[in-house]
Amino acid sequence: MAVDPHRRYLLSDADVDIRDKAFVQSLTTEQFNDLLAQSLADPHAAPADLDGKPTSLLEGDAVVFFTPPSGDSDSGS
């Protein structure tokens, strides 16, 4: 389906197929963000079926995400 850059697409639109890679990749950033926001805003949305091959993480490994301080720490000299 050809993307109209001036149209607002809704998840409920009959002609919108969010699994259509060509369609989704042709969306403008604003249109994509808008659709993503709609998908996140639905309180009754079914959770994603997230299965697939794993990354190189081994059983028991952990990923920890640290964000450095914003200057309010009690750093020593």
Binding site: L50, F66, T67
Partner: protein, 515 residues
């Protein structure tokens, strides 16, 4: 080749004409930057100022002292909690609408408790409410979804997530990662959109926990009293303002270890001998300064173990009485435990002893020829030095063989004993543990309170020996393309920290770019 490690050591080419040109350019840039700084300070219009700043060629955030200190602390804390960092990658993170540079660490530990204790300590140290820990497990109810095959533009992707109202996500190595938890699942439609836009690459089953901060970091906080003493010492001896530790990489560690490994023991080399002479003079003065400030150092031997045990018994009895329990039973429990072989269970215990009691145990040096682990008599640190005797010891009476009260105010000690005590007190008291990073920082802290003539000797006694242990030939891996790197936990050459060999005690003539 640069002559000064403070310029970056062996990688610095500051003597070349190109480098001189760069220096001149940098000076001009600095002058311009000062003007920009003044401009920012004078105007409230931050966006305009920020735009001006972003045009200058600033080094990466990950080269900043702030990040290096942060990353070092994370690694040090990991060592303390028995957590092995398998990989550490730069990341761009989005959390509650804010995008920030961050770090993504893949780690391994024996237990979840160790992981959580580590994350909690880091969060506490930097006053962050919590840290997200996702542990891969087949029973995990959460999912770590990875999108894109290395080609995701971090800024654009995180802007998209932010604009769409997704609370968190990160881009690591060109891949977008989102954690979906049972409490906050990623909706199917959102996943479909992200998959279509970026490509769904992988999913790990994880158990995700938000670990809240602890106060564990306080056990490793710097001892302010010794910071004050260090500053006074530097001022008194006219030593220059302390310089921050340069960014030393794995390649620097390997280069230093290789040099020490191959260099000859040269105790009579005039440059080496002079450096050791200056080091002995200064550690003697530093020891005396600490003694005069009320600190006392005690060799760790059988007597010390019994003294420590009696102290422990006293504390246990007092605690039992306060809690209304039987003190005899509490004492019996303490006495049943075997006497410890080490004075301190970890660096935090040493810091606590130093902080609360102004006391430190050290291992007495054995000086003898041909005995494994002993210091050879021709080693400059085998010489004796004369130091002050703590006043406190006079009050409690002399030990066997020691001078009687009022007769002597000094004693003779092996220089190596004095050095080990002073180094732990002066340098490790800044909260640096006995792991590779802590030792590196301790070396630099001690280096900052010694004159330049002592640097060769200090390097031999600290940095060289530690870097050989942790980056010596036994830890090096030669890759197929001829590059030498350090073994990681997944390499067969990997040697756990506690099993690495000690370095030979040599005094070598190290060049300036190393010391």
């Amino acid at each position: 080749m640069c002559r000064d490690i403070e310029h970056g050591g062996r990688r610095c080419d500051c003597d070349t004409s190109a480098a001189r040109r760069r220096r001149r350019a940098r000076a001009k840039q600095r002058a311009a930057s000062d003007q920009v700084t003044a401009y920012i300070g004078a105007t409230p219009y931050r966006p305009e100022s920020a735009a001006v700043v972003s045009m200058s060629a600033r080094p990466s955030y990950y080269d900043s002292d702030e990040w290096i200190e942060y990353d070092d602390y994370i690694h040090d804390a990991a060592d303390r909690h028995g957590v092995t960092i398998v990989s550490a990658q730069r990341a761009d993170g989005l959390w509650l609408g804010e995008t920030e540079p961050a770090g993504a660490y893949t780690v391994r530990a024996d237990s979840t408790a160790q992981l959580h204790a580590w994350a909690a300590e880091v969060a506490g140290r930097y006053n962050q409410d919590s840290v997200m820990v996702s542990r891969a497990t087949a029973r995990g109810r959460g999912r770590l979804a990875t999108y894109g095959a290395g080609g995701v533009d971090a800024e654009a992707a995180l802007s998209t997530l932010r604009a769409a109202g997704l609370p968190g996500g990160r881009v690591v190595d060109g891949r977008l990662q989102i954690v979906s938890t049972p409490d906050a699942p990623l909706p199917g439609a959102a996943h479909a959109l992200l998959d279509a836009r970026f490509g769904h690459e992988a999913t790990d089953r994880v158990s995700t926990t938000f670990v809240t901060k602890s106060l564990d970091h306080l056990r490793h906080s710097p001892i302010k009293d010794i910071q004050r003493i260090r500053q006074l010492y530097c001022d008194h001896h006219g030593l220059p303002t302390p310089r921050p530790l340069p960014h030393l990489t794995e390649a620097d560690d390997i280069a230093a270890a290789q040099f020490y490994d191959q260099a000859a023991h040269e105790p009579t080399n005039p440059r080496v001998a002079r450096s050791y002479r200056v080091l002995r003079q200064h550690i003697t003065q530093q020891y005396n300064t600490l003694i005069d400030e009320g600190y006392h150092f005690e060799p760790w031997d059988e007597t010390a173990q019994h003294t420590a045990r009696e102290r422990e018994v006293f504390a246990a009895r007092r605690r039992a009485i306060a809690e209304g329990k039987n003190p005899n039973r509490a004492e019996a429990q303490v006495r049943r435990r075997p006497l410890p072989e080490q004075p301190y269970s970890d660096s935090a215990a040493m810091l606590a002893d130093l902080r609360k009691r102004k006391h430190l145990y050290y291992f007495r040096t054995e000086v003898s020829q041909g005995t494994e682990g002993a210091l050879p008599p021709d080693h400059p640190m085998a010489a004796t030095v004369t130091v002050h005797v703590p006043l406190q010891r006079y009050r409690s009476g002399p030990r066997k063989g020691e001078p009687k009260p009022g007769q002597e105010t000094t004693q003779h000690l092996v220089a190596n004993d004095v050095f080990r005590a002073v180094h732990d007190a002066i340098a490790h008291s800044n909260g640096f543990q006995f792991g590779p990073r802590g030792e590196r920082r301790a070396w630099w802290t001690h280096r900052n309170c010694l004159p330049s003539e002592a640097r060769v000797a200090l390097w031999n006694e600290t940095r060289a020996q530690n870097v050989w242990t942790n980056a010596g030939p036994h830890m090096q891996v030669r890759t197929a393309d001829g590059v030498t790197r350090l073994a990681t936990i997944d390499d067969p050459q990997w040697v756990p920290l506690t099993q690495r060999p000690y370095a030979e005690q040599k005094c070598v003539d190290a060049p300036s770019w190393l010391v």
